[in-house]
């Protein structure tokens, strides 16, 4: 019988819960307490930072918020200790949500700037705590606070509480890892903009992950306040906590739910190995050396190594892609639209970057079932138009109405869920996810929000349609350009869009690959999708499109049937830069 992971977590927790009944010396309980404590801190950090790639250096702030919540409530307001723990979680989570609400809206505060910002928050919080009545400068003594008498010995009680937190944290980390939330966070990690445009509510997901991460850290802080029984600002808000949790998570493997726990156990154990020796200074150096060696030889952490081995080896990409499956799955068209009205109507749309008007008052309509070609020279505003419709850019002016609904004020992920999907000119797959997961992700976050199993089936269908079935378990880096372009296509299709925005899917392909792609696109349309087709390859434009719109300098300069429009003098001028008759 196969025991699910939750079962193993529970069994592990129960087994370790038996330790106090072995009547071992109290030291082992305290040692295990510290291990559990670091497991909670490292794992909670990983829920935001490891999964979504938002590396926080502010874990000390949330841990410290918990410590001082317990210190304040237990000493100044005489709350029973256990009651302070939920308050710790709440205070830390609120702090996290407050920071997240401001920071997560800003595209530029990713990566190291996020790390810096959270670190700065730690120092600010430390200064406030130090200079107000919360601490005041002399520290808070908790030796008068009663340790709850769950078990006979306080060390057993502390250990059991920390163990319960560790088990709970691991269960939460695993649940998120397997849930839609986890999938969304991993997508944010790999490419946040793409995730948003594919329907992942990135802002909400980051906030949720941050809140959970902070709440757990705060709770650990509350418990630890009583464990050390004397809380000072210098010890609490030092750089040691964030540094340690990062170290532990990366050492264990930050892409795995269990990685931080492994790293925490190893580092706690290592540090203890050198407390008793005659050469503690040399021991410390040895820990440094071990760290260097492990990171150099296992860059993805201890567990990253294990995961890596499990991934099936994929053959080198074949030179030619497989032909399109003979019997592609039916694409269900989007929401029923009044057949007489346009599916998408854009009016007066404008967007400027630093004064340059990339899109300058564009009006256009896309009718249900058609393939609309969007052409124009480089820099004419085609890609910007797609980015505006998909919600990646905020428009400066104008209206976008899709299927009778005004898209004003909608986030990109909400727009995706109304049934608009897009591809990228330069493929932007989620680099750390298998090809299959890449495609299944949009099925889960697309209009129909399929469950995990249905999404996999859906992904299988579109992989078959695009001829990528035998690459399903490969990573995107193992694909050639043609296959990656088709992965883009499959990923967009799995959202079951009613409007598909194709951004130069043909660029960089060989003539035979182009033929293949043209056939595929035609099949997509035959199944009921409406397509906006941005392309430079004129042969394909002429063969595929029902109608074309020509953009130049952000303005529509021509519109009509392909053969007719492309012969108009102003269009030729735009393309060739000189009048035809000159």
């Amino acid at each position: 019988m196969k025991i699910p992971v939750f079962g193993w977590i529970a069994i592990g927790g129960l087994a370790f819960a038996a330790v106090p009944f072995l009547q071992l010396p109290a030291f082992y309980e305290s040692f295990l307490y510290l291990m559990c404590f670091w497991i909670v801190l490292a794992t909670s950090w990983n829920i935001l930072s490891g999964y979504s790639g938002y590396f926080s250096f502010g874990h000390g702030a949330f841990f410290g918020a918990g410590m001082y919540t317990t210190a304040t409530l237990a000493t100044k307001f005489d709350w029973p200790f256990l009651w302070t723990l939920p308050a710790c979680a709440l205070v830390a989570a609120l702090l996290g949500v407050a920071i997240g609400t401001v920071v997560f809206r800003m595209d530029r505060l990713r990566g190291e700037l996020f790390a810096l910002l959270t670190l700065a928050v730690t120092f600010v919080l430390a200064t406030v705590v130090l200079n107000t009545k919360i601490d005041g400068g002399q520290g808070v003594l908790l030796s008068g606070v009663a340790v709850p008498s769950l078990l006979a010995r306080p060390s057993s009680t502390f250990y059991l509480l920390a163990l319960a937190m560790a088990v709970g944290t691991l269960a939460i980390a695993y649940a998120i890892y397997r849930a839609k939330l986890g999938l969304g966070l991993f997508a944010i990690h790999d490419d946040e903009d793409v995730a948003e445009v594919l329907g992942v509510p990135t802002f909400r997901y980051k906030i949720i992950a941050f809140a959970i991460s902070c709440a757990l850290a705060g709770m650990a802080g509350g418990l630890h306040a009583l464990f050390i029984s004397y809380v000072t600002v210098g010890e609490t808000f030092s750089i040691i906590v964030p540094l340690n949790v990062v170290l532990m998570s990366v050492l264990g493997g930050s892409r795995h739910w269990l990685g931080p726990a492994v790293g925490a156990s190893v580092i706690t154990g290592l540090l203890y190995a050198f407390t008793a020796g005659n050469y503690p200074v040399a021991g410390r150096a040895a820990v440094g050396l071990i760290l260097i060696v492990v990171i150099l030889f296992m860059p993805e952490g201890l567990l990253g190594r294990l995961i890596g081995k499990k991934r099936p080896k994929t053959a080198k990409p074949a030179a030619d892609a497989k032909p399109v499956a003979a019997d592609p799955a039916p694409l269900r068209p989007g929401p029923s639209v009044a057949s007489d009205g346009p599916l998408l109507s854009v009016s007066g749309l404008a967007k400027a970057f630093k004064g340059v008007r990339a899109v300058d008052g564009v009006d256009l309509e896309v009718r249900p079932g058609e393939i609309l070609g969007l052409v124009g020279p480089n820099g004419s505003g085609k890609s910007t138009l797609i980015n505006l419709v998909s919600g990646h850019y905020r428009r400066d002016a104008g209206r976008i109405v899709f299927a009778g609904r005004d898209l004003a004020g909608l986030e990109a992920n909400e727009i995706a869920r109304t049934g608009i999907a897009r591809t990228y000119q330069i493929p932007r797959p989620f680099a750390h996810m298998s090809v299959e997961t890449n495609v299944a992700l949009t099925a889960r976050f697309g209009r129909e929000a399929l469950d995990a199993q249905a999404a996999r089936a859906e992904a299988g269908r579109w992989l078959e349609f695009t001829g990528l079935t035998d690459k399903a378990q490969a990573l995107p880096e193992d694909l050639n350009l043609h296959q990656r372009k088709f992965l883009e296509l499959a990923r967009a299709l799995a959202a079951r869009p009613s409007l598909l925005l194709l951004d130069e899917v043909l660029s960089g392909l060989t003539p035979s690959e182009i033929d293949h792609a043209i056939r595929t696109i035609r099949q997509i349309r035959d199944q009921g999708a409406t397509i906006v087709f941005v392309e430079h390859v004129m042969r394909a434009v002429m063969e595929l499109t029902d109608r074309i719109v020509v953009l130049n300098h952000g303005k529509v300069i021509a519109e009509g049937l392909p053969a007719e429009v492309m012969n108009r003098p102003e269009v030729v001028t735009a393309y060739l830069g000189k009048p035809q008759h000159a």
């Binding site: 010396p25 295990l32 050390i228 004397y230 010890e235």
Partner: protein, 400 residues
């Protein structure tokens, strides 16, 4: 999930492995084992080597004279890495796994408080040195070997002001500048109150966060305030940095007192000549008139030089450390046993002769007298100048 099983197995293995390391119970012919931790690594490690050398010297001396109760003494010292949670856990290890007979405290307030909690749970007597905030000592079997009295925040400033008053030079205004390091801040708050009581006019009060790097503006503000006397509540190199910063703007306060300076650099620095500080021991007469102290000073100077310590003189830290050993062994010898309760009762009723003087433990929180003295940098050396009967031969408080 093979992985989980494997990890759980490994963890259990580690646990069992640690369990096997448990030694057999000590028998009476075996050495008496005394356990403690020191911050041998980490941010508090600046003074760790002092305490380690003192402990080693004391145990050697003890064993050379036949040990305790006829048994050899063995000192088990572990590294608490400057972290209270580690200190707590290692004290539990010392008691429940290593099963040491006696404990000796760590240093630094946070770690002492953590160790005290453990001692309390196991009813072990805990002699400790350098606890700066007596209010934190809530356990009735803890004994401070650094005799600052139960209310040093009042008594120490009073000693300092007495010393100043005795010079006859009038001082009216005071500037109190202090780090918010808990034990220092505690003393500075007290000093403010005492100064007010004694009629000083406080012309400046400044506090900075521990770890501050720029002392220039603080120095400028002190200079602007033109106080007759500056109370510098600083620990470690903070005070030295402030003194240097004042010197850099060509200012030396008429008189300055530093709470816990790094003694070596402050004595040698040209910026801090005539600065005052608190002390319980300096290596000159009358302290060294005590034969035990004289011998200790001699050995310590030698060992400290060999250990490459920049400052080899015995002062507060080393003396407090040595006194702690004296208190603990006195209790063992007097009660002729290792019973924690009996030792504790004896200590509360009796006085112990140490190199810093006679210590008693019969006041609030087992603190006794405040034996703090005032010392001054004179010609690149620390000399005790107050109270008069402890002043170095011929030394007087110099008022420039």
């Amino acid at each position: 999930m093979k992985l989980v099983t494997r990890l759980a197995g490994a963890a259990l293995g580690l646990l069992v492995g640690l369990g096997l390391a448990q030694p057999a119970n000590a028998q009476s012919t075996q050495p008496i084992r005394i356990g403690s931790t020191l911050a041998l690594t980490g941010p508090l490690s600046a003074t760790a080597l002092i305490h380690k050398l003192v402990g080693e010297i004391y145990v050697e001396q003890l064993n050379a004279k036949g040990g305790l109760l006829g048994r050899k003494v063995e000192w088990i010292v572990k590294d608490d890495q400057s972290k209270p949670d580690v200190a707590r856990t290692i004290y539990e290890q010392l008691i429940t796994v290593d099963k040491v007979d006696l404990l000796l405290g760590p240093y630094a307030t946070g770690n002492i408080v953590a160790a005290m909690g453990v001692a309390q749970r196991y009813n072990k007597i805990l002699v400790h040195h350098t606890l700066g905030i007596p209010n934190l000592a809530k356990y009735d079997m803890q004994f401070p070997a650094w005799s600052v009295g139960a209310n040093p925040e009042t008594t120490v400033p009073n000693t300092v002001f007495d010393a100043l008053a005795a010079t006859g030079k009038p001082m009216k205004t005071i500037a109190v500048v202090t780090s918010k390091f808990p034990s220092v801040f505690y003393m500075s708050e007290g000093a403010r109150a005492v100064a007010k009581q004694r009629g000083f006019q406080e012309v400046l009060f400044l506090e900075w966060e521990f770890g501050n790097r720029d002392y220039g503006p603080i120095a400028s503000r002190v200079k602007d305030a033109k106080p007759d006397f500056v109370w510098v509540g600083a620990i470690g190199l903070e005070g030295n940095m402030l003194a240097e910063a004042m010197k850099k703007i060509d200012y030396t306060p008429p008189m300055q007192f530093h709470m816990y300076p790094a003694p070596g650099p402050m004595a040698k620095s040209p910026d801090t000549q005539n600065a005052l500080a608190a002390s319980i021991f300096e290596q000159h007469a009358p302290f060294t008139s005590n034969a035990v102290a004289a011998e200790f000073v001699k050995i310590y100077n030698d060992r400290a030089a060999k250990a490459n310590l920049p400052d080899t003189a015995v002062e507060t830290q080393a003396a407090a450390s040595y006194s702690a050993w004296q208190v603990l062994t006195a209790a063992v010898n007097a009660t002729k046993g290792l019973d924690d309760k009996a030792m504790s009762d004896w200590l509360k009723k009796n006085q112990v002769d140490t190199i810093q003087g006679k210590l008693r433990f019969d006041r609030q929180n087992n603190f006794g007298d405040d034996l703090m003295k005032v010392k001054q940098v004179q010609n690149g050396q620390w000399v005790t100048v107050w109270p008069k009967d402890w002043a170095a031969p011929g030394a007087k408080l110099i008022v420039p």
